[in-house]
């Protein structure tokens, strides 16, 4: 009974939060609601006894991803409403609606047809993190390593793009200007 109560509570809050994210005109509301929704999703993982994934959901999505969004939002005035200009609202509605519908059908179809089964089921006596580790380092080793290399490439590219003038210190530059102006 408690699982059912928890599930419906979490799902209701998640849906409301993401609804606010999509419909709100204020960027700050949207961001806070998105973060809250992400945290609520981790509740489903805890309900499914996937503690490790639940905690990873909290750390990755709220700790890292959302904080980066927030950092990007520092460039806007978050207290004002965002003015959106949608050229063809019907087309946007149709495309996003169709995508959502296709996703729902794709995910629900195997459940309705009872054709869903775990390829690598949990074994008794193995804890959550170990089970994830075993699958990650045996069956999915190659995708895992490829993802790691891609992240490395992205990081180096980021450093190269951002680091054009890194050998000049802005702080020292400003101080130099001050001393020059003082000398004049």
């Amino acid at each position: 009974m408690f699982e059912a109560i928890a599930f419906y509570t979490f799902s209701a809050i998640t849906i409301v939060m993401f609804w606010i994210t999509v419909t709100s005109k204020n960027a700050l509301y949207a961001m806070s609601a998105l973060a809250a929704g992400m945290i609520m999703i981790s509740g489903f993982f805890f309900l499914l006894d996937a503690d490790f994934l639940g905690v990873v959901q909290i750390i990755v999505y709220t700790g890292a991803v959302m904080a980066l969004y927030a950092f990007g939002m520092m460039f806007f005035d978050t207290t004002r409403d965002v003015k959106e200009r949608v050229r063809a609202p019907k087309l946007v509605f149709l495309l996003s609606g169709m995508t959502a519908l296709v996703l729902v059908i794709a995910l629900v179809a195997p459940i309705l047809g009872d054709h869903i089964e775990a390829l690598y089921p949990m074994k008794e006596g193995i804890e959550n993190p170990q089970a994830v580790g075993i699958v990650l380092f045996t069956k999915y080793l190659v995708p895992f390593e490829v993802a790691a290399v891609m992240l490395l490439v992205a990081m180096i590219a980021g450093i190269v793009l951002a680091g054009k003038k890194m050998d000049e210190s802005l702080t020292l530059k400003v101080e130099d200007e001050f001393t020059q102006k003082g000398a004049q």
Binding site: Y29, D51, V55, I59, T62, A67, L68, M74, T79, N128
Partner: protein, 331 residues
């Protein structure tokens, strides 16, 4: 245990933890002022009650009765929610911390931990990390330049030091082979020489340094650096909402003290003739005192020095530590 018994026990534990730790967080402010005063050869609060002990109560009455001001241009709901996030995440993090060893009271065996999940360390660190939303949203919602600067500093400081915290505890976790705080504690049950701090001194130092940054304590308290950005994210706050940020901060300090003593300093195992329950209280108190001691001894750092320290010094050392630990464990 029956379901009803379990629910009642959990609710009692939650109430005890909430009450005890919010009281301790309040009392922490008194201790901080007293310790700082003695280190600076002053007396500190002396007038309210004997040695100023009741100062906490007076401050509490002041905070509760103060007008709750919300600036006109602020984003109201977010501005009001932000301090609650700060206090709530600090207390939620305590849910997975085993506070004392098991004990019996009125013939009932009590596990002093609210939720014994097998990824305890990650849960505590993750929830503490999501506490960064409190200063972030507060700063962005209050439509104030200093607030915005404080929020920007929150994002860079807490995110960067999260990396160091994670990497530094990775090495002890590799030795123990479990993410459960109780397993980590039991790994060190052999006494003083079994403490992980002796085999992982580098990780311990890194964890403490990153802890100072994550709880926004003095050498790294750039979020509300009063000499540069007035009061940072808390500039527009007053009364109880302002107080909640600081209840959260002190609760986080206590949580971090528990984490450091459980992972590195032998946790709640018996320490010589000292029983385990007392031992962990002593360790946490010492770490709390250490936070205050550092505040009295060190000046602030600049933001660029902070980032330099994190990415060019601490993170490479932490990665090296993990690699060396891995090699030693393989041999």
């Amino acid at each position: 245990m029956t379901t009803t018994g379990f629910i009642i026990a959990t609710i009692i534990k939650i109430l005890v933890v909430l009450g005890l730790f919010s009281a301790l967080a309040g009392f922490g402010t008194y201790l901080e002022r007293k310790v700082l005063a003695f280190m600076q050869r002053r007396l500190g609060p002396m007038h309210v009650g004997p040695y100023g002990v009741l100062q906490v109560l007076a401050d509490g009455i002041k905070l509760f009765t103060k007008e709750d001001i919300i600036p006109q241009n602020a984003v109201k709901p977010i501005f009001m929610i932000a301090p609650i996030i700060g206090a709530a995440t600090a207390f939620i993090a305590l849910a997975a911390v085993p506070i004392l060893p098991e004990f019996e009271i009125f013939g009932v065996k009590v596990h002093p931990i609210i939720a014994d999940i097998n990824v305890g360390v990650l849960f505590v660190l993750g929830v503490m990390a999501s506490g960064l939303f409190a200063p972030l949203l507060a700063g962005m919602a209050s439509s104030n330049k200093w607030g915005l600067l404080g929020a920007a500093r929150t994002a860079i400081q807490l995110l960067s030091y999260e990396v160091v915290t994670g990497l530094s505890i990775l090495a002890p976790l590799m030795m123990v082979g479990s993410l459960s705080l109780i397993d980590i504690n039991n790994y060190q049950s052999g006494g003083f020489t079994d403490w992980i701090v002796w085999s992982q001194p580098v990780a311990f130092v890194l964890f403490l340094i990153a802890g100072f940054a994550e709880t926004n304590r003095t050498p790294f308290d750039l979020l509300e650096h009063e000499a540069e950005i007035v009061s940072g994210y808390a500039t527009e706050y007053s009364g109880m909402r302002w107080g909640m940020f600081f209840i959260g901060e002190y609760a986080n300090m206590i949580t971090l003290g528990f984490l450091a003593s459980l992972i590195f300093l032998g946790g709640f195992n018996d320490w010589g003739f000292i029983p385990g329950g007392l031992a962990i209280v002593l360790k946490v108190s010492f770490l709390f005192f250490f936070f205050l001691w550092t505040r009295a001894a060190w000046p602030h750092v600049r933001p660029d020095q902070l980032m330099w320290l994190c990415w060019k010094v601490l993170m490479p050392i932490a990665v090296l530590n993990v690699v060396v630990t891995g090699i030693v464990l393989m041999m």
